[in-house]
């Protein structure tokens, strides 16, 4: 039987096991939306902006490990989703995005709402397809899902011209695909793995430096086994949080620009760095030429281009993290046979000393304004029993969330790492909530970031996605303000957000619930109330605006040279600036 392109599209998604589609219609995709309207089994979540659709698909993918799917129209629909594609490409998120295109005979004529979707998405997708013939549609969709989800995952775009969605073809869904130029390497080289095992057995001061690849590859168990067997401390990148339990005694927390003192000191002074599914990003390495100067480096990654891109590697192993670690553990079991506690003891003593010397701290005066760290820490403590999924936006609140949320399992941490996309958090949380309707999903947002995709509150209300958004409201682009205080003599050029809207009223305007914690003693009750509320909630937490996020490695600085607190002068200045009581803030907010 012949099906239209639109029907083939829907059939293919079903065969791929897609349950949820994040979408926004337009002229050239109306045929597809018409078929979507008449089918059952695929949930269509109508977003209010295509960027929202893209980030929701990302959140869905990060939380489930299955590809997120978005559908947008040609021209502006496509250009609006580009940010999400760039974000997904940077963070290796499996995404299949379908865009509408003008009819094949109009392509290239500057037709209404025509854009070069292939050109726009080429640098921000793992691959992209323009489907010129309805007979190619099914096989293209199959290939798109295959490419998005295998090897190093990433976004794939399929551009479907209007006539292709209307034309008819016989439908058969291919069982498998083979692409001669695409053969990811999954098994690590055995000889290299043996070298790695020998280096680990000998090392006195080894460190595991794990990244998002551990999450995608599902290698958490293996990391844990390796770390425990060889008593190796585990540094996590921003993308890896949750891949190793944050409260595990071997966990060092996050490393990098705002990582913990001990995580950064340990990597700097280590004699062996075991990088797993991480890519030596500049936010992690600091000054490349002085990154872990004393260490041999083992690098395990599925993407050969990640290896030796920024940093010289002594033992490169291309392969899937999980399989390589399995093999490595087997070799180590046979050679190390057991206890490395004694060998590592001096190293751990040193680490414990660092931990005691500079723990994460902040001062919370119980009658003073709420400190952002305190709000985030309480949120963590009050929700951890429910194993929430946590998303963040970008800025100070993101870094504090990374420091204080000690997640016990992977796929519960949704954050924009590589691109640092403000506005990611809320839609990403909604995407995760769509996948897990019964889980507690939190979004820790900044008052700046959250306004970048606030419109999606309408989507959350209509589709009953009960995300709890906690706005750490410092009435600044806080991270920008921090850099201005540290490096630009406190000139707050375009970082002041004092015209921030009243988030409680804003929530209510959308038909959601708005709550506010005015003082420290409100925090727990308000958080509990938010969690007990059925639908989506915005919790506005006006916080002390002049808090800076530490530790901090200034851009281009060395990992062991962290700024740990405001300098005395800056501290004085911050205190003078900060003479705003919570009550004052409240009048400002509601004025």
């Amino acid at each position: 039987m012949k099906l239209t392109g639109a029907e083939i599209f829907v059939e293919c998604l079903k065969r791929e096991g897609v349950k949820t589609l994040f979408a926004l219609p337009g002229g050239v995709v109306l045929k597809i939306f018409d078929v979507l309207y008449q089918q059952k089994g695929l949930d269509v979540i109508l977003t209010r902006h295509e960027q929202g659709a893209g980030h929701m698909a990302e959140g869905y993918a990060k939380a489930t490990g299955r590809p997120g799917v978005a559908l947008v129209t040609s021209g502006p629909g496509m250009s609006n989703v580009v940010t999400a594609l760039v974000d997904a490409y940077m963070d290796s998120v499996p995404l299949v995005c379908f865009s509408g295109q003008v009819s094949t005979n109009m392509i290239g004529n500057d037709a209404f709402q025509e854009a070069d979707n292939i050109g726009l998405s080429r640098p921000c997708t793992k691959y992209n397809f323009l489907v010129k013939d309805v007979n190619d549609l099914a096989v293209t969709i199959k290939e798109a899902f295959y490419i998005a989800t295998t090897g190093r995952p990433g976004p794939v775009l399929v551009d479907i011209p209007k006539d292709v969605s209307m034309n008819k073809a016989d439908f058969t869904y291919p069982g498998s695909v083979s692409i001669r130029g695409y053969n990811p390497t999954y098994e690590g080289n055995k000889w290299q793995i043996k070298q790695a095992a020998e280096a680990i057995a000998k090392a006195k001061k080894p460190i595991l430096y794990i990244g998002g690849g551990v999450v995608f590859s599902g290698a958490s168990e293996e990391v844990r086994e390796l770390a425990e067997m060889c008593q190796i401390p585990v540094d996590m990148t921003l993308m890896a949080l949750g891949a190793f339990p944050g409260e595990h005694p071997l966990s060092m927390g996050m490393m990098g620009m705002h990582g913990t003192y001990w995580a950064n000191m340990a990597v700097h002074y280590s004699d062996l760095v075991i990088a797993v599914g991480s890519r030596f990003d500049d936010r992690v390495t600091g000054k490349v030429s002085e990154f872990c100067p004393h260490a041999k480096i083992i690098h395990i990654d599925i993407d050969p281009t990640s290896i030796k891109k920024n940093i010289h590697v002594d033992i490169p192993i291309v392969g899937d993290c999980k399989r390589v670690l399995r093999e490595l553990i087997q070799v180590l079991k046979a050679t190390v046979n057991g206890d490395q506690k004694d060998l590592r003891k001096p190293w751990w003593n040193q680490i414990h000393e660092w931990q005691r010397a500079h723990p994460l701290t902040y001062d919370q005066d119980s009658n003073g304004p709420i400190k952002p760290q305190h709000a985030i820490k309480r949120l963590y403590e009050l929700t951890k029993d429910r194993a929430p999924i946590v998303s963040t936006d970008v800025g100070q609140h993101q870094m504090w969330s990374a420091q204080y949320f000690k997640l016990s399992s992977p796929r519960r941490w949704l954050t924009s790492g590589g691109l640092g996309t403000m506005g990611f958090g809320f839609p990403a949380a909604m995407g995760a909530q769509a996948a897990f309707p019964d889980k507690l999903v939190l979004c820790v947002a900044g008052d700046g970031s959250v306004q970048m995709n606030m419109q999606e509150m309408a989507t959350a209300v209509v589709h009953k996605l009960p995300v709890k958004v906690i706005v750490i409201n410092n009435r600044f682009h806080g991270m920008v303000r921090q850099w201005q205080d540290l490096f630009y003599e406190g000139r707050y050029s375009s970082s002041d957000l004092s015209t921030t809207p009243d988030f409680v009223k804003l929530a209510e305007a959308y038909g959601a619930v708005g709550l506010r914690a005015k003082k420290v003693s409100d925090l727990d009750t308000v958080i509990k109330e938010a969690i007990a509320t059925d639908g989506p909630v915005i919790v506005d937490v006006p916080v002390y605006p002049y808090e800076n996020c530490y530790p901090m490695i200034p851009a281009g600085g060395c990992n062991h040279e962290m700024i740990l607190a405001d300098s005395p002068e800056l501290k004085k200045k911050m205190e003078a600036n900060g003479k705003v009581t919570p009550e004052d803030k409240d009048t400002v907010l509601t004025a």
Binding site: I118, R122, P123, K126, L130, G181, P304, K308
Partner: protein
């Protein structure tokens, strides 16, 4: 250092822009690039002349390999290879220079492929040294137009006798 990289790609729409986009997006140099179909019409062969230190060349090769439409990448600098380039050179020829132009053409075993009373168009093929030497010699006569194909290169077959007989696949 200069490297010549030979890249076998799918012969389909958009592949050139993926390769070019990779080079521009990552700040790699392209000194020249030539592309044409192979014996198998589903594939094309690109010869890319680029430069960079070892780390950059390693990245270029890996990044090319990562492109899904790329089937095979060979850094020819790792082997022995031969390279050729063709240039078409249109020179002004005043009456008194025409003999000199012909002589240079002969020395380089080049061909005159078009001639008018005031110009010769000369075709020269050879390695880059030869092509550039010829251009340098013709310059004083006045080059009106110059077009070069960019280099193509192919690995030398190893001279072990067993391998020395290539299958006759193409006619001369």
């Amino acid at each position: 250092m200069e490297h010549i990289i030979s890249v076998t790609v799918e012969n389909k729409f958009g592949v050139l822009s993926r390769v070019a986009g990779l080079f521009s997006g990552r700040g790699f140099n392209i000194e020249s690039l030539s592309v044409a179909p192979t014996l198998d019409p589903t594939m094309s062969m690109m010869t890319i002349v680029t430069s960079g230190d070892d780390r950059i060349i390693e990245q270029i090769v890996k990044q090319l390999n990562k492109l899904i439409d790329v089937i095979k990448v060979v850094d020819l600098n790792e082997t022995e290879f031969v390279e050729r380039e063709t240039a078409l050179i249109k020179v002004h020829t005043k009456a008194e220079d025409r003999a000199e132009a012909l002589r240079i053409t002969e020395i380089f075993r080049a061909n005159i492929i078009d001639s008018t009373p005031s110009t010769y168009t000369i075709e020269v093929t050879g390695d880059i040294k030869k092509v550039e030497a010829m251009i340098n010699l013709l310059q004083p006569l006045g080059i009106k137009e110059l077009i070069r194909t960019g280099r193509v290169a192919i690995a030398r077959e190893s001279i072990r006798p067993a391998l020395a007989q290539p299958k006759r696949v193409a006619k001369e």
